[in-house]
Symmetry: C2
Subunit: 150 residues, 2 copies
DNA sequence: TGCTAGTTGCAACCGAGTCGCATCAGGCAC
DNA sequence: GTGCCTGATGCGACTCGGTTGCAACTAGCA
C-alpha cells in the first residue's frame, strides 16, 4: 500500500490557478511540500518543511492555506486514530478514496483501496438518499508484523 | 436511523464493576448521562449534564472518565467531520459498528448499519493481515432534505 | 507604473485536553 | 461499624493545535 502515487508536480498550483486564486511565494512553498510529501504531514511538519523553501512562511499562513485547500476539496484531513496526540494530518485528495489503517503498536500507517468501499458508499447514497462529499474510514488495530508480537 | 437503541441502564457501570474498577459518585453521574443520552455529546455537554446530577463533577474528571471508558473499549470517539469546531463526541459502543453521516448544511447526524461495512472490514483483516480493534467511518455530505435546497 | 483587493506576519488569543498536587472517599479487612 | 490504603477527585496552572485582528505588503490587472 504505497503512499500517494506520484502526481504531476504543480498540480495543486494549477488547480488553484484555474479557480482564479492568487499565487504567492508562501503558497507555492506550502503546495510544493504537499505535492512532494512521501508521508502524511501535520501542520507543524508542513510548516518546517515549507520554511526550508521560503523562510518567511508563518504558522498562520500554513493553517490558512490548509483551510483554503480543504474548502476547494483538494486535500483530505485525517486524524489517523490520534496515534500521536490530537492534531490532524493532511494529504492530497487523489482520484480514489482509500482506507487508512494505523497500527496501535508500531504506529505504521497503511493505505488500502477497495471496491467494497466504493460499493458501501454507493449503498449509503442510495439507501439514505445522502449525497456524499467527503468520506473518511480510519481503522486502528495491529498490522501483520505486530500481530504476533502483541 | 435512530440513535443508540435503549440499553439496560447501568450497563456501563456493571461493565466497570466486572473489571474491578472503583465506582464513585462522580463516575456514576457521568455514566448515567452517557447511558441516557439521546444524541452525541461532547465533553463540555457531558460535563454540564453530569453536574446537574452531581454538582461537584469537575471538567478533569469528565476527561479522565472518558479516557477510562475509551481504554476499556466501552465508548467510541467521533469527530463528526468537525461540523462544529475541533472537539470530539462520544457514544456508547454497541454490538455493531455503524457509519456516521453528517449533513454539511443542516448539521444533522445520521447513523447507518450495513452488512457491506462488515464485509469491508473482513476484507481488510484478510487482505492486509490486519487485526482491527476500532474502526470509524464518517461521511460528510447532504442529507435527503437538504439535497434539493443546497 | 499605479492601484486595489487579497494575502501575509505578528502577537494575542481561544478552547480542548492534560497534569501535579494536596485532599478526599470507596470499599476491603478486621 | 471502624480504620486504612490506594485510587479518584478538584483545582489551577499549563500545553498545544488552531484562529483572529490588524497594519504592512504584494500579485497581477488596467
Amino acid at each position: 500500500m504505497p503512499l500517494p502515487q506520484t502526481e504531476i508536480p504543480g498540480r495543486l498550483q494549477s488547480h488553484l490557478a484555474e479557480r482564479g486564486i492568487r499565487m504567492t511565494e508562501q503558497r507555492r512553498a506550502i503546495l510544493r511540500v504537499m505535492e512532494t510529501a512521501t508521508k502524511h504531514l501535520d501542520a507543524a511538519q508542513l510548516l518546517r518543511k515549507a520554511q526550508k523553501l521560503d523562510a518567511s512562511v508563518d504558522r498562520s499562513t500554513v493553517y490558512r492555506t490548509l483551510r483554503l485547500l480543504k474548502r476547494h476539496g483538494l486535500i483530505d484531513e485525517l486524524d489517523l486514530m490520534h496515534i500521536n496526540g490530537e492534531g490532524h494530518y493532511y494529504e492530497r485528495k487523489l482520484n480514489r478514496d482509500h482506507i487508512h489503517m494505523a497500527c496501535l503498536r508500531c504506529g505504521k500507517i497503511m493505505e488500502f483501496v477497495s471496491d467494497i468501499f466504493e460499493k458501501l458508499k454507493g449503498q449509503v447514497e442510495k439507501d439514505c438518499r445522502f449525497r456524499i462529499v467527503v468520506s473518511r474510514l480510519e481503522i486502528g488495530g495491529y498490522c501483520a508484523a505486530c500481530r504476533g508480537a502483541e
